[in-house]
């Protein structure tokens, strides 16, 4: 582009200059103004927003239906904004800094304490959210430092899923203890098919799956190198050593585990009820569900408590916050909980609702039993859970890929203590 410019065209160019400069300046000023003003938005008095992670079609639809009923009941418009689960926290923080928080945020149980710690959440009891008929464990799950910030609609936990056909064919009962599970898994492991599948991936999925083994063995997240936690990890290692557990388990998320189970590559799996919808799409798969086996007969099977909780962030408008509380009350009402639980295969938080639910899906009652003893991951550590979780992920992956459980967990405990 080095064409010669004649005088005439130069003249034309100069005249063009003025015509161009003004719009250009206007455009750059506009771009600047838009960029600087951010996205602080005016709230509409009759429109309420709920931020959740229901990006999945079915979940989005169930939530929309609930919100529609609540909208009608309360005479306001409730809108749903769904982002991927991993983004709920960061999105909320960004919205907080631009003073445009939604009226209700549905956090995952492991994240709520972090947000509560900032002082950005409101005490639900003070706002009039009902806590009647909610078991203490679930109240604790929604509390941080003694204040109730999160109302769960439904909760979930992990359980042992087993392929009925495979177990029946081998004439084996559903295992209830670690030793039984190990023996059963070993017998069911054949070429191309594993006795048991679980997720030991490098994310919260893996940690979630490790907790029932750690806790049922008497271990604790505050002391990662205790003999009990080491014992739990050694148990995982022994399953791997037997060949009952695929070596790829360190790469699997819980969804991958479910895929393996559905493909018939695993006779049993540790997983949660949120997989049931997918499991049921495969008609010729006959599965059953049981509590996660315990170290020795008579021990309690302690699972992790999971599921989203509805929180009300401080938007600086008391009247709005009161209405938000009414929306939460509506969403956690007995009927809505049962409906949502039946759709999503989770367990209603409310005891009365749970009783109704049990009569409707007796096949999942072992899940309800597991929830009764389930523990919250953040009850002891609050927002400190995240660093323990990261250290633990690294530790069990090290152990499953060769290191001794003891040294891996010792290193993890040091990492937590040094604050890294």
């Amino acid at each position: 582009m080095t064409a010669h410019i004649t005088d005439g065209s130069r003249q034309r160019r100069r005249r063009l200059d003025r015509r161009v400069i003004v719009p250009l300046t206007v455009v750059s000023a506009l771009v600047g103004a838009v960029a600087l003003s951010g996205c602080g938005s005016q709230r509409d008095a009759s429109v309420f927003t709920v931020l959740n992670s229901s990006t999945d079609d079915s979940y989005h639809g169930w939530d929309a239906a609930t919100l529609k009923r609540c909208s009608k009941q309360l005479g306001v418009t409730i809108e749903q904004q769904s982002v991927p689960a991993a983004q709920v926290m960061t999105k909320s923080l960004r919205m907080a800094s631009s003073k445009s928080l939604p009226d209700i945020i549905q956090f995952d149980g492991s994240e709520m304490p972090t947000f509560a710690e900032t002082g950005g959440l409101l005490d639900l009891k003070k706002l009039g959210v009902s806590t009647a008929d909610i078991p203490q464990g679930i109240l604790d799950y929604g509390s941080y430092k003694g204040t109730y910030y999160g109302a769960a609609r439904t909760v979930n936990t992990l359980a042992l899923f087993y392929n009925k056909d495979i177990l029946d064919k081998a004439g084996l009962p559903v295992p209830t203890t670690w030793a039984e599970m190990q023996a059963t898994a070993k017998k069911l492991t054949k070429k191309g098919s594993y006795g048991v599948a679980l997720s030991a991936g490098g994310a919260e999925d893996g940690v979630y799956q490790f907790t029932p083994f750690m806790w049922s063995n008497g271990g604790d997240e505050t002391d990662l190198d205790s003999p009990e936690v080491v014992g739990a990890l050694d148990y995982w290692k022994s399953l791997l050593k037997d060949g009952s557990l695929s070596k790829s388990t360190v790469n699997w998320t819980q969804a991958d585990v479910n895929d393996q189970f559905m493909a018939g590559n695993a006779a049993m799996m540790i997983n949660g009820p949120w997989q049931v919808e997918t499991l049921n799409t495969k008609k010729n798969l006959h599965w059953g569900i049981a509590q996660i086996p315990v170290p020795k007969a008579g021990d309690d099977s302690v699972g992790p408590l999971g599921g989203g909780m509805l929180t009300i962030p401080d938007v600086g408008d008391t009247a709005r916050e009161k209405t938000s509380a009414k929306i939460v009350n509506c969403m956690t009402s007995e009927q809505e909980e049962v409906t949502y639980a039946l759709n999503s295969w989770m367990i209603p938080a409310n005891e009365k609702a749970a009783a109704v639910w049990r009569t409707k899906v007796p096949s999942l009652s072992s899940l309800a039993d597991q929830v009764a003893t389930a523990r919250s991951r953040t009850a002891k550590l609050g927002s400190g859970w995240t660093s323990v979780s990261l250290a633990l992920q690294s530790a069990f992956q090290s152990a499953l890929t060769g290191q001794s459980s003891e040294s891996a967990l010792h290193h993890a405990q040091q990492r937590v203590e040094s604050g890294n």
């Binding site: 100069r14 200059d17 003025r18 161009v20 400069i21 003004v22 250009l24 300046t25 455009v27 750059s28 771009v31 600047g32 960029a35 991993a86 926290m89 960061t90 923080l93 960004r94 907080a96 800094s97 972090t114 947000f115 710690e117 900032t118 002082g119 950005g120 191309g192 594993y194 991936g201 490098g202 994310a203 695929s246 070596k247 790829s248 388990t249 360190v250 790469n251 393996q260 493909a263 590559n265 995240t386 660093s387 990261l390 992920q393 690294s394 530790a395 992956q397 090290s398 499953l400 890929t401 060769g402 290191q403 891996a408 990492r415 040094s418 604050g419 890294n420």
Partner: protein, 318 residues
């Protein structure tokens, strides 16, 4: 505003010719400078807003105690070099830095060599040349995360296609992603696969510019194919090679999405890179100060290479 300034001298010109004549070239010059700045301004404003501001912000943030509460209060007290100290004392940082170096060098060598070989191969005419060339572009079209997820399935130790295939030859138990020793190599391999099209396309473009007569002359002089490649292709391709390597370096050193999709940094942190460490610090631990430190280090590394690149280009111009 500009219209009055433009019409004023024209109107007064006949009345006060000697006075008007003097400022005319000056105002014209000023107007031209103004015009020039007018053209540059949008770019400058854009750069300052979208590159300058985040950059400065990131540097400042690395010296602040920046927590989730900061988003509410806006308060992020300065804590000197605390974040930097914490990051440097973390074992994971050294590990991630070393793995980033291995990852970058491995990827660049692999992408470049295979890309160049393919470019040279496709530089001759043969049937189906165009079809094959566009097929090789496919990895470029697939989003990084999708490639990651698909490759994770392919490389699965027990149920992956690759091991089933290798099993036909009696070697089907390679722990591609599930061993701490192997995972990084596998991630590099996938990244090479992703990077080949880019290298090939740019180098192929460069090869098209090399005059065919030079090869004819060389072959008349009895130069072998290898000698032609070494003495004609490589030297003439040098500027393009610099571009490919520097751009490749910059996109490789900050790798994040591919690693997250393939291994999540695991097993046991064996595939953590500076990119995933930034992500983990900022978005898993919500320690934005520490995340900013690692981010700054990445920017610094890239900046050093950008300088090399500019240098090389300037020498090229001389």
């Amino acid at each position: 505003m500009s219209s009055t300034a433009a019409s004023a001298p024209a109107a007064s010109a006949p009345a006060a010719a000697p006075v008007a004549k003097a400022p005319k070239p000056g105002s014209l010059k000023r107007r031209r400078t103004l015009a020039q700045w007018g053209f540059i301004a949008p770019a400058v404003i854009f750069m300052l807003l979208f590159f300058g501001y985040p950059l400065v912000r990131n540097v400042v943030m690395s010296f602040q105690h920046y927590t989730p509460s900061t988003f509410f209060t806006g308060e992020a007290p300065f804590n000197g070099f605390d974040n930097w100290k914490n990051v440097f004392q973390d074992d994971l940082f050294g590990k991630a830095l070393w793995q980033t170096i291995l990852f970058t060098i491995g990827s660049l060598i692999g992408q470049f060599c295979i890309g160049l070989a393919l470019a040279v191969f496709f530089n001759r005419r043969f049937p189906l040349n165009g079809v094959l060339r566009s097929l090789i572009l496919l990895p470029w079209l697939v989003p990084m995360v999708v490639s990651g997820v698909v490759w994770r399935r392919i490389l699965d130790q027990d149920t992956g296609v690759l091991n089933s295939f290798l099993g036909l030859f009696g070697a089907g138990d390679t722990p591609w992603l599930s061993s701490t020793g192997m995972a990084l190599i596998s991630v590099v391999m996938v990244n090479i696969w992703i990077g080949i099209p880019f290298n090939m396309v740019i180098l192929y473009g460069g090869l098209q510019e090399v005059p065919k007569e030079m090869y004819e002359a060389a072959s008349l002089d009895g130069a072998s194919a290898w000698r032609q490649f070494r003495s004609i292709t490589l030297p003439l391709l040098k500027p393009v090679i610099t571009v490919v390597l520097v751009l490749g370096f910059m996109s490789t050193v900050k790798i994040l999405d591919l690693v997250l999709a393939l291994t999540d940094g695991g097993p046991a942190d064996s595939t953590q890179t500076l990119g995933t460490l930034t992500y983990q610090n900022s978005f898993a631990q919500l320690d934005f100060g520490a995340g900013a430190v690692v981010g700054n280090i990445l920017i610094l590394i890239s900046a050093v290479f950008a300088v090399f690149y500019l240098r090389a280009n300037r020498n090229e111009g001389k």
